[in-house]
């Protein structure tokens, strides 16, 4: 066990996989000389060289498109989109090419591709740079969408993604990079498509992922003071979505709150809620609550931005609603 930050966990996963497998390489804006806008690939350029750590022009469609092509030749590219907001500039290649090629051509080739993108709000970057559009990408069959909330999961899931023969969108969160936690020593992977109980409890089920795991945990701490034991399920993967642990927990607590950072409408919470109702209808004691971002483009002003983002108090309040 080593106590490291999320940034270090992701950086280690990339580093170790590149050491392990020559076919793994990185391409993206500022991943090389700069060392990564969020310093995730710091030191990579000097160690692995310009062929395996490739700075690109500002051309998101070309970054993802070229990664797709390289993957078709048997390589395992890790394409970095500086932020997930720029994924809209590569939308065609993510949802219409990467997600469909394997199926559309009758499975005659594989597409072992990882697209890393950091998302989330809370840093006053304004409406175009602060989004959490995870549900949008998770809507497309053929793509796998992963969004870890802890350093341990981040490292294990990224390694799994790089070794996976399917295209994986790996979503990081800018305000989680500094989070520190224990990570197993040596090489390990965390399976894609498995939700996990991050905190056991008996009174209410909180379903969340990524940054909101942190918020939900703080809320659970507060609730614990009032004797409420919340069980927190971390989805970790949005597609394929693993409802197993969620349903299991819900059948025990009969109450659920879903916490996501993105907008409520057509978001992650709606899908999870709909599935809980479908799969555990007879266990419901109270309407499931969804905590999500207010439905506005995220404003720059700090106070307004925080008003729009889900806060610990919102989660606590939602839990009290369902109790």
């Amino acid at each position: 066990m080593a106590r490291i930050t999320m940034r270090e966990a992701i950086s280690q996963a990339l580093w170790e996989e590149m050491e392990r497998d020559q076919s793994v390489f990185i391409l993206g804006e500022e991943v090389g000389v700069w060392g990564g806008t969020y310093a995730v690939t710091k030191g990579f350029y000097d160690h692995f060289g310009p062929d395996r750590v490739r700075d690109t022009p500002i051309a998101e469609a070309a970054i993802v498109g070229a990664a797709i092509g390289a993957a078709l030749t048997g390589l395992r590219p890790v394409a970095e989109l500086m932020t997930i907001n720029f994924a809209f500039s590569a939308m065609e290649h993510i949802v219409n090419e990467a997600a469909k090629l394997h199926y559309m051509f009758g499975g005659q080739f594989i597409l072992p591709l990882v697209i890393r993108a950091v998302g989330g709000g809370g840093r006053q970057l304004g409406a175009t740079h602060s989004q959490t559009p995870d549900a949008v990408f998770a809507h497309f069959p053929g793509l796998k969408v992963v969004a870890p909330g802890t350093p341990e999961d981040a490292k294990g899931l990224l390694k799994a993604a790089i070794r996976c023969d399917d295209p994986v969108l790996f979503i990081e969160h800018a305000t989680l990079y500094q989070v520190r936690a224990d990570v197993p020593d040596g090489d390990y992977t965390v399976p894609i498509g498995e939700s996990k109980i991050q905190r056991p409890g008996r009174d209410v089920t909180i379903v969340t992922y990524s940054k909101m795991l942190e918020i939900s945990t703080k809320a659970a701490d507060q609730l614990a003071k009032d004797g409420v034991e919340a069980e927190i399920i971390d989805l970790r993967t949005l597609r394929p979505l693993d409802m197993g642990p969620v349903i299991q927990s819900f059948k025990k607590t009969n109450r659920a709150v879903i916490v996501e950072e993105g907008w409520r409408s057509y978001g992650v919470g709606s899908e999870v809620a709909a599935r809980i109702y479908e799969q555990a209808f007879d266990y419901i004691d109270a309407p499931i609550q969804r905590v999500a971002q207010k439905e506005v483009p995220l404003p720059y002003n700090r106070t307004l931005e925080q008003l729009a983002l889900p806060q610990v108090e919102d989660v606590v309040k939602a839990v009290k609603e369902v109790l």
Binding site: R54, A61, A62, G65, A70, L72, E92, G106
Partner: protein, 319 residues
């Protein structure tokens, strides 16, 4: 060039023409669905181009892909089977006319979103460069595709990274109903290559010998490690953009004028006049090819549909 090679080029062009004419009929009979884009009139382009590629060279194109598929070695039957959505089709009936491919023959498809395959082509070339293979990537696209952002990002990247890719623009004068001058800032597509400092040239796509000559030079440049090369080939589609095109955008005599330069007719005359192949041998090829393609149609028609559980196959490799 060996006589057999001359013959093979002729045969391929004839087979493409026949397959396209059969496809048109099958479409009218409702045996082919979706969009059907015929290659009639452009046969000399891909036939000349691909006749010069090495086995290690990758080929990728847009949705007007039947001819390219045949030049790459996919059988008429597999092509027609895919068009009819059969399990024996090159994409198991899941891709259809716009998505033919056979990677065992280094043909990477068949792509339906205009220009979106250009960045992918850059990636194919990157893969070969990274693995130090000596193969190059031949990427074909239309005149209309040069106006979308993907074209720009792919060409710029190919030059910055000195990628072994041959960009081939099939300028058939129109993107659907929009003529080049109504959609493009410059009249010659090759001029766009100058904006990236990419060497380029232009060839007559109705004359397969001219196509081959230009292609030779282009491929040499790319394989020689000089990075990307841009080849514009002037051609014309004799039929509508796809089946059911009202063709309000062009005059029938413009079409007639071009049809007089039928690439197959031009090549046929060339072979006879230069005494390379006597007329009767060509006639034999015509007959054999016709028989062959009609057989392929029957076989493809008789081929099985994919099983229902194929629906859920190949969404993912794992899980």
């Amino acid at each position: 060039m060996e006589k057999s090679e001359y013959l093979e080029l002729y045969r391929q062009m004839v087979v493409i023409r026949l397959v396209e004419e059969q496809s048109a009929q099958l479409y009218q009979q409702g045996k082919i669905g979706g969009f059907l884009h015929l290659y009639i009139g452009q046969e000399a382009v891909s036939t000349g181009l691909i006749s010069l590629r090495q086995p290690q060279d990758r080929v990728i194109t847009a949705y007007r892909d039947h001819g390219v598929a045949i030049n790459c070695g996919i059988s008429a039957r597999e092509v027609l089977a895919e068009l009819m959505g059969k399990a024996t089709g090159s994409s198991k009936g899941k891709g259809g006319s716009m998505h033919l491919a056979d990677v065992t023959k280094n043909f990477w498809g068949g792509h339906a979103i205009v220009g979106a395959h250009l960045p992918i082509a850059a990636g194919l070339a990157l893969g070969d460069q990274y693995q130090k293979n000596d193969g190059i990537t031949i990427c074909m696209f239309g005149d209309g595709a040069t106006n979308i952002g993907y074209f720009h990002e792919a060409l710029n990247l190919s030059k910055v990274w000195t990628l072994p890719v041959l960009w081939v623009c099939e300028n058939n004068q129109y993107g659907m109903g929009t003529s080049v001058e109504r959609a493009s800032a410059v009249p010659e597509m090759r001029l766009k290559a100058d904006g990236y400092g990419i060497p380029n040239s232009r060839a007559d796509g109705m004359d397969i010998m001219a196509v081959r000559e230009a292609t030779k030079e282009a491929i040499e440049s790319v394989r020689g490690g000089k990075g990307p090369y841009f080849l514009e080939i002037i051609t014309y589609r004799f039929r509508g953009h796809s089946m059911g095109d009202p063709e309000r955008y062009r005059q029938s005599d413009e079409v007639k004028k071009w049809q007089e330069n039928d690439p197959i007719g031009i090549y046929r005359r060339y072979l006879v006049e230069h005494k390379i192949i006597p007329e009767n041998e060509l006639n034999t090829i015509d007959e054999k090819s016709e028989k062959e393609v009609l057989e392929a149609v029957q076989l493809a028609e008789a081929d099985p549909e994919p099983a229902a559980d194929e629906l859920f196959e190949h969404v993912y490799v794992e899980g």
